[in-house]
């Protein structure tokens, strides 16, 4: 069997040697931090106006993470390209000729991809939080408040899992254009629309993005179907299912 550390080194070389890695991850960071900062600043400056009709407690953490939806887009693209560029370039044949143990190969890819996504997501989440709080001034919160640290870590885990879910879907579809064409409309149109439609939304509440984003909530919301840890578990289940599906397709298919 191929040596697993060797696969990890090889996959690390692959991922660090293409520009798209730097671009997509930098974009995820800049967009998440930037939009969060902008909204935190606007909220602070217009606090009374913004909060006039709002009964619920002010979520300073959520405000700082206002940009996560768009940051998520960049990290989805990162996850798709990391797997999909092998198919678009025909490089998958070179890869499988070098490592014919396909399951082990995908495991190695997942570890490298996941570790990098997690590292970038953690940095992004904490920077987003602190920048947001600095700009919220007197309305800010701190990590020592209840649930806040969990929400910040949850944001990092959420981004990482969405990235790996996208990678798994790409392995299943073995085509990056198709994967982007499925994932982007799913996360940015279908899922938000369905979760607003009565009855259907019960189903949409079990989609990976809705479930994963529960981890970011600091306060209980009315009509919330389940808590942050159930959300984490559901999102993780989706991620594992996508990766297992990707491995099965990779193993059975002609390259």
């Amino acid at each position: 069997m191929a040596s697993f550390p060797a696969i990890l080194r090889s996959e690390w070389t692959k991922i660090r040697s293409v520009r798209s890695t730097v671009w997509t991850l930098a974009l995820a960071f800049v967009v998440t931090v930037g939009i969060g900062a902008l909204l935190s600043l606007l909220t602070n400056n217009n606090f009374t106006e913004f909060r006039r009709h709002d009964q619920s407690p002010f979520d300073a953490t959520g405000t700082a993470f206002s940009g996560i939806m768009l940051g998520e887009l960049a990290i989805i693209v990162f996850g798709v390209l990391a797997i999909g560029n092998e198919y678009s370039s025909g490089m998958i044949r070179a890869t499988l000729a070098a490592v014919p143990q396909r399951g082990t190969l995908l495991a190695g890819k997942t570890v490298v991809l996941g570790a990098l996504a997690l590292a970038v997501s953690l940095v992004t989440a904490f920077v987003t939080f602190f920048v947001g709080q600095a700009l919220l001034g007197s309305h800010s919160t701190s990590l020592s408040e209840p649930n806040v640290l969990r929400a910040v870590l949850g944001a990092a885990l959420y981004l990482t899992m969405i990235c790996l879910f996208s990678a798994g879907v790409t392995a299943m579809l073995h085509n990056q254009t198709l994967a982007l064409g499925v994932l982007v409309p799913f996360f940015f149109l279908l899922s938000p629309i369905l979760s607003a439609v009565p009855k259907v939304k019960t189903l949409a509440h079990y989609f990976p993005d809705y479930a994963g984003s529960r981890m970011l909530l600091v306060y209980e919301q009315n009509g919330q179907p389940y808590g942050p840890w159930a959300g984490f578990t559901i999102c993780l289940a989706w991620t594992v299912a996508a990766l297992v599906g990707g491995a099965l397709v990779l193993k059975s298919r002609d390259a």
Binding site: R9, R19, S89, G90, A94, A97, V99, D254
Partner: protein
Amino acid sequence: MIELHDLTKRYGKTLAVDRLSFTVPPGVVTGFLGPNGAGKSTTMRMILDLDRPTGGRVTIDGRRYGQLSEPLKKIGALLEAKAVHPGRTARDHLLWLAQSNRIPERRVDEVLGLVGLTPVARKRARGFSLGMGQRLGIASALLGDPEIVMFDEPVNGLDPEGILWIRNLMKRLAGEGRTVFVSSHLMSEMAVTADHLVVIGKGRLLADLPMSEFIRRNSRSAVRLRSPQPERLLDVLAGAGLRHEPGPDGSCEVVDGDLAALGELAASHGVVLHELSPQQASLEEAFMQMTADSVEYHAGDGPGRGAPGTSGAPGAPGAPGGGWGAGWKADGNRPPAAVRQEEN
């Protein structure tokens, strides 16, 4: 040594590779010849376990490709020229390959030098010409210093200098005792590089024999005679007990005939000749004849084909008797038994 046993690949209704069995002998260049679409690339992908066979098996030194722990050290392959991410540098491409099989990093620079890509090692593959891409592919095949190298159409699209370079490289690799398995659709290319020849058509084995044997069998020569008195000419030839075949434009051809003797024969019988010329069949023609036959059999053309020169055609199996059409018929639906001669 690569061994194929009844290797079969079916895509839907199409049988791309049909019960292919042959052995790639070690230490020589084996040419894998067939027209486009004959199943050469599919066969090579199955050797590397990239495509899963529908039936049969293929082993490398007795083991399946998937059982090799660091396969690049055993067998190096050039499949498509550009199985490379366009945004990655040549050196990084070789580096990840090397790392996956625990090949030391200095070997990367070594093979870059070997194929002459050192000056562009840190350039992204996007800007590479076809020839440079091909060299990079060959560098990745040689990376693990493998005993077996396999090249799929390595000279495709290359300029004459590149073609010469590849030819010499293959000879050198075989000279070092490596097994070289190279596919091509050009007989002329194989004639100058291969020691052994495997010919397939429509996924079926047509010939498996040493190159020298192929040349011996196919360097058929004949003397063409054309006369304004064709009946008299034929009578004279028959009288002399010479076997002849009809040639083009009302001429006739005497297989393995002696030019001078035939001229004297005609003169002594007072037959006027308008042409007396030696005819030499090229290897390319022999190959085309061989593969054209395989195509025709698929079209269901039965026995009784009367095309000149085919009944004793190069490598035609079952030649004694009614040509290979008959052999095929007699055998029911089975493909013609292939010509086979073991290297000794």
